[in-house]
Structure formats: C-alpha cells, structure tokens
C-alpha cells in the first residue's frame, strides 16, 4: 500500500489537482458566486499565458514582471469580456428578465461565441502549434521530498492557489466589495434598490476572476513549458467539474474537489492508458449531477 510508486502518483495527482484548483478559483468566483454563466474563462487563461509568452520573448523581464503583465492582460480581458458578451444582455431591469432563462442562455451563447473568436484569433496570430517557453523561465526544477520527487512549480502553484483562496475568502466575507458581490448574486434587483452599483460590482468580479484565470494560465505555461491557443479548453472543463462537484458557490469546495479530481486522474492512469484519464472528470461530473445535485459542499439549491 505504501509503495513509493503510489506515493509518487499521489504527489503527481496533488500537483495536477492544484493546477485545476488554480483555474477553478477564478471560474467559481464568476460562475458560481456571481451566478453568471461564463464559458469564456478558458480563453482568459489562454490569453494570460500568451501575454506572458509575448512579454518573455520581447523583453525577457524577471518572472514577477511576467506575472504582473499577465495579470494586467487578464484584468483587461475580463473587463472587455463583460462589456462585450454580458453587458448588452442586461438591458432590462425587472426581476423576471434578470432571472429569466432566456437571458442566462443568451449570455452562455454569447460568451461561447466570444471564446471561439478569441481562440481562432489567437490561432491566426500565433499558429495552432504549441510554442515552447524559454528554458530559463520554466518552473520545473526537481525537488526531492522524502521518497517522492516534486518540482519547484508545485510549491509555487500551491502558494499561489492558497493565497488566492484565502484572499478571496477574505474579500467575499469580510469586505464591503465582497458583500456587494454576494448581494448582487443573490438578488440583482434588490441589490440595486439598496444602492449597490450592480454594474460596477459585476465588472469588479469579472476583473478579479479573470486576473486569477490569467495568472493560472501563465503559471501553467511556465509549469508545462508549452503555450497553445486551445490550451484553455481542458482545464476549463476540469474547473467546471470541480466547481459543480464543490457545490457551485463554494470556493473552498471547488478547491477540494479539484484536488480529488487530480488525484483520481493520476491514480486512474496507473490502471488504464492516459487517453482515458479525461473520462474520470466527465464521469465525476455526471455522477455528481445525478447523485449529489447540490454538490459535495454546497448549500441547497432549489432546482438542478
């Protein structure tokens, strides 16, 4: 049972789960907490990675500057995404249309359309092949911890994910901005009546969530050493699965489920070929939706 091989698989699974968690945090903030259906988060992640890559190949700045640049691009992308794909569909202010399915589905489709345009535009500009990150910037120097081998990137990703998680929990539960975000997600019209600037709150959430998505993108780019236009799709799905499993509105729940997902996938690859490992995530998603429609850590929802 305590074969070093399994310990190593466990470590790989944990670091894989951490990478999913990194993506899932920003995703859950926009999708789960603000309750806005956003299918373009994967492209924000890709944009962040490409912004970092362009910075690196243009000026070769220190790594902190690269991440700051990616954060800036993420903020800008989040802002534009909200303006382009979400604001035009919030033209009514009565409660029925704010909560209506038609509006939610139109934003789903519009964010999907924007994500197609962004991905294809990136393919035109950068080509669809993988572009490798210069060797100096990679964060995968091996580190030996007892019987298992980790890389420096694992610690960085763990640190960033923990910082994001704690920072967001603080923001959501202890500050006025967080209070406003939760109020808007709960009842947009009510929030408006008590004097909350709903537009600004939604934009703030998008900017914060997208910055986190972009940071996740550049970290993953440096961790795996490859950046390509379609890179956001799979992590986006995994983040979604983690969010649904975690119960939509709970960010810690999403992180825990991302870890569960990562460990299950790495354990699954010991039994089946790696091509099937994506099946684990989809299987988990279906099983969660069928047996735990409220998620593992979520509050009760009316209908699923």
């Amino acid at each position: 049972m305590f074969d070093p091989y399994y310990l190593q698989q466990l470590a790989i699974g944990l670091s894989l789960g951490m990478t999913y968690a990194l993506m899932a945090i920003g995703f859950t903030l926009i999708f789960g907490v603000l309750n806005v259906v956003n299918f373009a988060h994967g492209e924000i992640y890709t944009l962040g990675a490409f912004a970092g890559l362009v910075l690196i190949s243009a000026t070769a700045p220190p790594i902190v500057a690269v991440i700051l640049g990616a954060l800036a691009v993420g903020a800008l992308a989040g802002f534009s995404l909200e303006r382009l794909a979400f604001k035009p569909f919030r033209r009514f202010t009565d409660e029925a249309s704010l909560k209506s399915r038609a509006m939610r589905e139109s934003t789903l489709l519009s964010s999907l359309a924007v994500s197609i345009v962004v991905r294809e535009a990136l393919e035109i500009v950068f080509g669809s092949q993988m572009r490798s990150v210069p060797f100096d910037y990679l964060i995968n120097t091996p580190v030996r911890v007892g019987p298992v081998i980790l890389v420096t990137g694992d610690f960085i990703i763990f640190g960033v994910a923990a910082a994001m998680l704690i920072g967001l929990q603080y923001l959501l539960t202890r500050t006025r901005v967080g209070l406003a975000i939760r109020a808007v997600s709960n009842n947009p019209l009510g929030a408006k009546y008590v004097g909350i600037d709903t537009d600004r709150t939604i934009i703030t959430t998008f900017v914060v969530g997208s910055m986190m998505g972009a940071a996740a993108g550049i970290l993953m780019g440096l961790y795996y050493g490859a950046v390509f236009p379609a890179m956001g799709f799979t992590p986006g799905i995994k983040a979604f699965v983690a969010m649904v499993m975690g119960g939509l509105s709970s960010i810690p729940g999403a992180v825990i489920c991302a870890l569960i997902l990562g460990i299950s996938e790495s354990m699954a690859t010991t039994f089946v070929s790696s091509g099937w490992s994506d099946m684990v995530a989809y299987g988990f998603l279906i099983l969660t939706l069928i047996f735990f429609p409220n998620g593992l850590f979520g509050a009760r929802r009316e209908r699923v």
Partner: protein
C-alpha cells in the same frame, strides 16, 4: 362580404399558395440544384452541396431538441458520430449495405441517447447543458481511445457508397440525389413533429416545465422522446456522412462540431425550423464562399454567432414569423375545416 366569407376567401388563397412554396423548394432541391451541379460538374461543388444537406439535417434535428423542447444540447455531434461509426463498422466488419446501415445507424444513435437520457433527463437548464457536454465528450473519447473497435484516431475507411437494393448509387449525381432524398424526408418528418400538438407540448416544456407538468404534460417522458428522436436523425446524418465521404475519424465529431450545429440553430432562430435550415446553409456556405480568406473561416463562425445573438436575438427567421410562414405556406393540418369555418381560426395545430 361577411366575416366568414372573408375567412373562406383567405383560406382558399392560403391553400393555393400553400402548394406553391413546397413545390418550389422541391423543384430547387431536386431539379434546379442538380442541374446546376451537373452543369459545373466539379466534384468540389457536389461535396459542398452534400455537406450542406447533411448539416441541414443535423441542424434540423438539433432544432427539435434545443429550439422546440428548449434543452440546450452541447453534445449533438457525438450522436452524429455514433451514427457514422455504426454505419462504418457495419459496412467494414459485416459488409452490410447502405439500405441496412441507414436505419440501423439512426436506431443505434437513438438507443445510446435513450440510455444516457435515462439518468440525465431530470436535470434542468445549465446542468443539463453541461451533462450533455460531458456525454458528448465521453462518446468522443470512446471513439478516440477504443482503438481495437473504432481504430482510434486513424479512422475507418467505408468501402461501400450509396446503394438501393443492390443498385449502386455512388455516382456524383446519384449520391447527391440519395442525400437530398433522405434529408428532405427527415426534415419533413421533423417539421411534422415540431408543428403539431406534440411540438406544442414540447414548446410548453421549454417555456415553463413546472407549469407544463402541473397541466398534465409528461415532461420527463416528452423530453426524453425529443432527445432520442433528435439523436435518431443525427445518426441518420452520420450514416449519410460515412457513406458519402468514405472515411470517418473522431475529429469529425468533436466538441467544436456540436458548437457549430448549435450556432446554426441559434443564428437561424431558436424554435424555427426554416431558421435552422437557413442557419445551416449560411454557416456551411459562407465559409466556403470565403475560402479566399483562408484562416478566417472559423473566426467567421464565432463572429456570425456573436453578432446574431447581439443584433438579432430572435435569429434570422424568428420563431413567431417562422411559425406564421409554416402555417401559411406548408401545412394543411391546421387550416380551418368545414366545421369551425365561422370561428375564423382553426383550433391550432394538430
């Protein structure tokens, strides 16, 4: 002229026009287009025409589940793939011909849809959409990774083209006619389904499923039927595709294809069958027409979809106007009969 006479005259006019549009469409599909194609006689044009027809069928089948029943389906291409793989495997392993594989592909796709629908059909809105996405991806992974059975990423070569009772129909024109005939029949069937009391029941589920449930509509069962039927037609389209191109691989049935089909239905107008057909033609023919732009073809799909959601939220031919058009031009079923002539309107669509 009193009211009932006016109605009767309008009715007669309707009836006269009602024969015109279907006739024109039939002439276009079965006479004018083949004549044009034969005139140019280039394999490429035939291919485009067949591809457009197959996507018309896919878009029409998506219309049934997403437009009429209001279930956002993000895995439609997978059922198309199940149909194509059924046809290809039956042909290459058992040596069966098109006449057998066509219905079997539809049935296998419908069976798979029925099985996956059993547990997922009680999910609503976004959760259903995500469940269908997961199912589509799972089926795609099976096509990609079950190498022993599906030959994985190498794909399968389909050795036999179209044939009918032993007569080969694999010439260019014969292929076109086969595809056109199957697609037309299927679209007529979908149109009869979606413009009937049955379609209205599905629409009531789309508008408010809890209310429909309370009114005695068996929502879960109807949703399952719509989902299964749409998968059946997608499977038929898959069989057409497999026999038409002679080679299939998992790449033809991935997530982006589902999105393309969804975009067709959305651009044309959710809930409108003529819209779904127009959307399919637009999104297949426009990129081909813009072939000179090369890499910009896919971006066009996204842009067209985004702009149509933004500027034409009802689609190119919205549901209400589409229904009016269908009612006036295509269907005799809901024209008022002798009994209720005086009341003006018939009682709806049977």
């Amino acid at each position: 002229m009193n009211a009932s006479e006016t109605v009767a005259t309008a009715d007669r006019l309707d009836r006269r026009r009602g024969r015109l549009v279907p006739l024109l469409i039939a002439l276009l599909v079965f006479a004018a287009l083949p004549a044009l194609l034969a005139g140019f006689d280039r394999g490429y044009f035939y291919q485009i025409a067949n591809l457009a027809l197959i996507f018309v069928l896919l878009s029409a089948s998506m219309h049934l589940v997403t437009g009429v029943a209001g279930l956002l389906h993000l895995g439609h291409a997978a059922f198309y793939g199940v149909g194509a793989y059924t046809a290809a495997l039956l042909t290459s392993k058992l040596g069966l011909g098109f006449t057998v594989t066509l219905p079997l592909s539809g049935l296998v796709a419908a069976l798979v849809a029925f099985l996956v629908a059993l547990p997922t059909m009680r999910l609503v809105s976004i959760y259903f959409a995500v469940a269908t996405l997961a199912i589509g991806q799972m089926l795609y992974l099976v096509m990609l990774n079950w190498v022993d059975f599906t030959k994985g990423p190498n794909g399968i070569i389909v050795t036999r083209g179209f044939e009918l009772f032993g007569v080969s129909l694999s010439g260019r024109l014969a292929t076109y006619y086969t595809v056109a005939a199957v697609v037309t029949l299927s679209v007529v069937a979908i149109s009869r389904l979606s413009h009937s009391y049955y379609g209205n029941a599905l629409r009531s589920i789309r508008e408010d499923d809890q209310c429909a449930d309370a009114m005695g509509v068996r929502t879960v069962r109807l949703k399952m039927e719509a989902f299964t039927l749409s998968a059946f037609f997608a499977g038929v389209a898959g069989s057409l595709w497999a026999h038409m191109t002679g080679y299939i691989s998992p790449g033809d049935f991935k997530f982006s294809e589902s999105i393309l089909i969804l975009a067709m239905v959305v651009v044309g107008g959710l809930g409108s069958l003529p819209g779904a057909i127009i959307g399919a033609l637009l999104l297949i023919l426009l990129p081909e027409g813009l072939r000179g732009l090369g890499d910009f073809r896919n971006i066009m799909v996204g842009l067209v979809m985004f702009l149509s959601i933004l500027l034409l939220p009802k689609g190119l031919l919205g549901e209400v106007s589409a229904l009016r058009l269908m009612r006036r031009q295509l269907g005799a079923a809901w024209r008022s009969t002798g009994k209720d002539q005086g009341t003006g309107e018939g009682i709806g669509w049977r």
